[in-house]
């Protein structure tokens, strides 16, 4: 299956016949089998699928935390390792992964003190196509925007789970990444917190317009957030469908009541179910 969207210029993400195998011999599992995906800059793409479909593996490949066994992964035309060295990738893991000894503000500003040579590298990669490394945003302002103005000088342990995850998102946006990679960031949160964090994520994304690769288990979450929902299936892990979500933005709470939203939900659910059935067959 080819999950490509029409692209002009260098795509933000390009996966070409990517294979990833864990283990050796008869016990080897095909985590990803011939995965192709192209994402133009500025798009919000969700990966959805049952456990074992390789969506987290795909995410780790893009974030440069693993290498493909075959095929090629390119982020803005360069390998993930090069993109990481230029601080073009922001990662929001499942847990907030904040440093417990630093205040929220110092947690989100620490990336600016790390790998200072990245700005130069980033300009070089940008070439003629983009305007180069964007200026570092005002982190205090971003925190206020994310509803963490009061909590700025508190330690992570003094915050709720939702606030911690918001801080982790602000930390990643603070890099002004070209690609933001999010691994089920809201899966540990309750329903209310989840929705309010989706709101804030969309607000921040609207402003900083980066490409987002978002792994999730939740169908409504995928439909609400994404421009494109990529449906994956296990055994071997592969992309079975790519659904463009053509709903107007901004997508506020009202969206949940709309018929078109539920139609997209049903469509994604149907494709997921089909993926299951094809596996059982």
């Amino acid at each position: 299956m080819d999950g490509s969207v029409k692209v002009t210029g260098t795509p933000a993400l390009a996966l070409r016949s990517v294979h990833r195998v864990y283990g050796f011999g008869p016990s080897a599992t095909n985590a990803l089998d011939d995965v192709r995906l192209t994402v133009p800059p500025g798009r919000f793409v969700s990966l959805i699928g049952p456990s074992g479909c390789g969506k987290s593996t795909l995410l780790r490949l893009v974030a440069g935390l693993e290498r493909p066994d075959r095929g090629e992964v390119l982020v803005h035309g360069v390998p993930p390792a090069t993109a990481c060295a230029a601080k073009m990738i922001g990662l929001v893991p499942q847990s907030p992964a904040l440093l417990p000894w630093l205040s929220v503000l110092r947690n989100v500003t620490l990336p600016q003190k790390i790998n200072k040579g990245a700005a130069r590298r980033r300009e070089r990669i940008a070439g003629t196509e983009r305007e180069g490394a964007p200026a570092a945003p005002d982190m205090r302002e971003l925190l206020v925007k994310a509803g963490l103005g009061e909590a700025m000088h508190k330690l992570p342990a003094q915050l709720s789970g939702g606030m911690r995850q918001r801080a982790a998102i602000v930390r990643a946006f603070g890099l002004r990444p070209d690609v933001l990679v999010m691994d089920e960031p809201f899966s540990a949160l309750d329903e209310f917190t989840r929705e309010s964090l989706q709101d804030q994520l969309l607000d921040l994304w609207d402003e900083l317009k980066t490409t987002v690769l978002f792994v999730t288990h939740s169908v409504p979450e995928a439909v609400r957030l994404s421009d494109t929902v990529v449906v994956m299936a296990p055994g071997p892990g592969r992309i079975v469908d790519t659904i463009d979500v053509d709903l107007p933005r901004p997508r506020g709470e009202r969206l949940f009541g709309e018929r078109r939203f539920h139609e997209y939900e049903d469509l994604v659910r149907d494709r997921l179910r089909r993926a299951w059935r094809s596996e059982a067959a």
């Binding site: 935390l65 990738i89 992964a97 990336p111 990245a118 330690l155 606030m163 930390r171 917190t193 929705e195």
Partner: protein
């Protein structure tokens, strides 16, 4: 419609209540005020009184084994300056040894956690060193380094070395995987990672080691002093000489001073720990 109504009356989802808000405001003052209540100090006082009575009874029955408390007290009061001087000598040796051992162990912990080659080369030796009774090495070290302060420093340092090495190495390596992944995607350098992530992460482990090692450093200094008995100052020497001359009150007075010294050192570590690790759970118990 009912769904929407419920949503407006329910607590706003944005206002996430902080987790356990009372923990940070209450635990500190409470632990300090607690000592005013008799229920806290009375049991200890009673135990001490019973022990003192038993001691006095024993001293009466076995005068060659136990000196009466008032003799110990008068020895302490009569020669207070003498005890303080010798205590300071022992303390100096212990702290100097601890500082040296700490520096060496910390550097080695960083090297072993960063370089697997160093870990494989050094760790087995460190383990062997740890299981070797240092009390047995002390006389040999005195022969090697003479009767000066050096062998005391070496033994105090050696005795502190292993717990600090093991704990610090564990702390440096125990950074959660997802934290490492976040900084790996920024291509953080090894030194940056050490400075901003690994070393601060190791601090609770380091302090746990310091709590073990501070009393041990005194043990090391005293053992070394006893091995070179009579040649220098220090409470170990005082105990060695006094016991050979059957001056039991002096022996027990020195032991008492050593115990007080240990308590003061532990208190100092605790105070520094509360400062440095205010963010960590251990500082709130």
């Amino acid at each position: 419609m009912t769904v929407a109504d419920e949503r407006t009356t329910a607590p706003a989802p944005q206002a996430d209540p902080p987790v356990e808000p009372s923990r940070f405001s209450l635990s500190h003052p409470r632990s300090r005020i607690a000592w005013i209540r008799p229920a806290v100090w009375l049991p200890l006082l009673v135990t001490l009184a019973v022990l003192a009575a038993l001691w006095q009874w024993g001293a009466e029955k076995l005068p060659y084994l136990l000196p009466p408390l008032q003799d110990i007290g008068s020895s302490l009061a009569g020669q207070f300056g003498y005890y303080v001087d010798n205590a300071l000598v022992t303390l100096g040796e212990a702290v100097a040894g601890l500082a040296t051992g700490f520096a060496a162990a910390f550097v080695l912990a960083v090297l072993t956690s960063e370089l697997p080659l160093v870990r494989r080369a050094v760790m087995p030796i460190a383990v062997v060193l740890n299981v070797t009774p240092l009390v047995a090495i002390a006389p040999a070290l005195v022969v090697a380094f003479g009767f000066g302060p050096l062998p005391k420093l070496v033994i105090a340092g050696l005795i502190c070395f292993f717990p600090i090495l093991i704990n610090t190495a564990a702390g440096l390596r125990s950074v959660p995987r997802q934290v490492l992944q976040v900084y790996r995607t920024m291509d953080a350098g090894r030194l940056e990672l050490l400075r901003h992530v690994r070393v601060p992460n190791a601090l609770p482990y380091v302090f746990a080691a310091l709590r073990i090692v501070f009393p041990l450093s005194i043990v090391g200094a005293v053992v070394a002093e006893m091995s070179a008995s009579g040649s220098t100052d220090g409470l170990g020497t005082v105990i060695g000489v006094a016991s050979s001359m059957n001056q039991l009150p002096v022996v027990y007075a020195s032991i008492l001073v050593l115990a007080v010294m240990g308590v003061l050192l532990l208190l100092a570590v605790t105070l520094v720990e509360r400062r440095v690790l205010h963010w960590h759970d251990s500082a709130h118990n």
